[in-house]
Amino acid sequence: MSKLYIDIGSTYFKVSQKGNIEQYFRNFDKNILDDLNSKCSTIVNQYSKEDIHICSSANGGLSTLIVGLTNSFSLKYAINIAFNSGINIIDTVLYSKLESEPVPLEVIDVVIVVGGIDSVEKVFDEKLLNYLEKVNYQNITYVGSAKNRDFLIQNLENIVVLENIISDKLQIQEEALKHYLTDLYQSDIVGKEDIKQLYEITSNQIYSTPYIVNRSLPKINERLDVANPFIVVDIGGATTDIHYSRDLVNDNILTENGYDRLVFKKLGVYKSRESLVHTAKNNEFVFELLEYLNVTENILEEESTKATKTLMQLAIFLVLYKVSKHHGQYVELNLDILNSIVLTGGITKVLTQEEVEDIVLFFYKKILQFHHAPTTLLDSNYEIWTYGI
């Protein structure tokens, strides 16, 4: 029996069966299930609950606060796992700076505490408890040194203790935390009425879309015409994501599927348009870029198709710029050896192949001083997510 895949996005939903994908604009006057039923109930009714798989990026996802011992290990590993689990909102605090850091004002879905390999004692003390007392959080998990577990269990109610994410050889161990976070996402969905109703049509777990896209990466070069190493840039309405193969990074993390994810919360074209424009205006190359695109700065304030196109092109440029050398991101991608760029998300509906190639070439010539650029591929059918579900 074939399966039906449904992806609920912030602007569209997509329905895929037997390799054929249809897309529908969300009608925000209706709840998701009613909207879905009004548009494709005949399709949905053909499938039993076991054969319907759903992923969603519509509920925004979980917010996290990570308290870690060092930048290079605790925080870096936890951020990596959180992004790969589909989480978008990540705040971090270095344990040694805890007392001078402001306490987040908003409610945090999950606090992650991490530090030390298993044999290390006395990593955390009263300082942690005093700080957490001021934080408004729903869940808390501890994924640090085994020797500190008792202290945390005794002092923090409801703390979920998991396997240390830092191995005895200082390597990353992602499974336990990743599991926990994806399950938490699931229960978070259950709290959200709109999506909860979708369990009327599926008996399978609903995952976050970025998590599913990340899972699909190992299959991309089997199915699409791309060469390793490649990146997938998902430019949608709310955030911009990059999924990249680990061959592009020079560091101490070795994850299992070999692909990681990075999120730019503030580079969405609709929901975070203002900050996208702001970032653009502060980039020293943007005026040259606008000139190259034959538009003026005024376009950034306009509401037109042309303006949206320009913003999307800017988003591509800024994302590449931010992951290239020395721009303070927590990872730096070696774009010199990149062979393909795959674009997915809302952007594939707005830009043409040529418009994308144009901007990528500008980046490679101007910033990296290359004569050629990687090949680009638009996931215009928006099918990548179906490989991972």
Partner: protein, 133 residues
């Protein structure tokens, strides 16, 4: 005893690093090898995460000076009282006078400095130093 080791900066000379790893293991140390191309901050962070007793940095391409200058600053940000800081390899470019190099690196905050000194001689000194501590 735990030792964090690796090659500092943009230095890819890996052979000595492997030898150091093996030699330390043979002498009974628990080794955390960060490999080549490691920044000073990563070394310090690894010492914190493992609660290591020794940080043994090597540098072969002559760029150590630039990469290690900030050691004192980083040392002041955490309690490293019980950690021994050690560096060795080719610490200067070309034929530099060890009599100038050694005090310079000591002033950066290294307890033990070995410019173009044989590895085993260096590790013997380390053991003697730890013993005396």
């Amino acid at each position: 005893m735990k030792v964090v080791t690796g090659v500092v900066g943009n230095d890819i000379h890996v052979v000595a690093n492997r030898l150091i790893d093996i030699s330390l293991e043979e002498r009974g140390f628990e080794v955390f090898n960060l490999g080549v191309n490691t920044y000073l901050e990563e070394f310090m962070d690894a010492v914190i995460e493992t609660d290591a007793d020794v940080l043994l940095i090597s540098s072969l391409n002559g760029e150590a000076e630039g990469w290690c200058r900030d050691l004192q600053i980083l040392k002041s940000q955490y309690d490293f009282k019980n950690v021994t800081f050690m560096i060795g390899g080719n610490l200067g470019v070309g034929e530099m006078d060890p009599e100038q190099l050694v005090p310079k690196f000591q002033s950066y905050g290294f307890d033990l400095v070995f410019h173009q000194v044989d590895l085993n001689v260096g590790l013997d000194s380390l053991e003697a130093f730890l013993e005396a501590r």
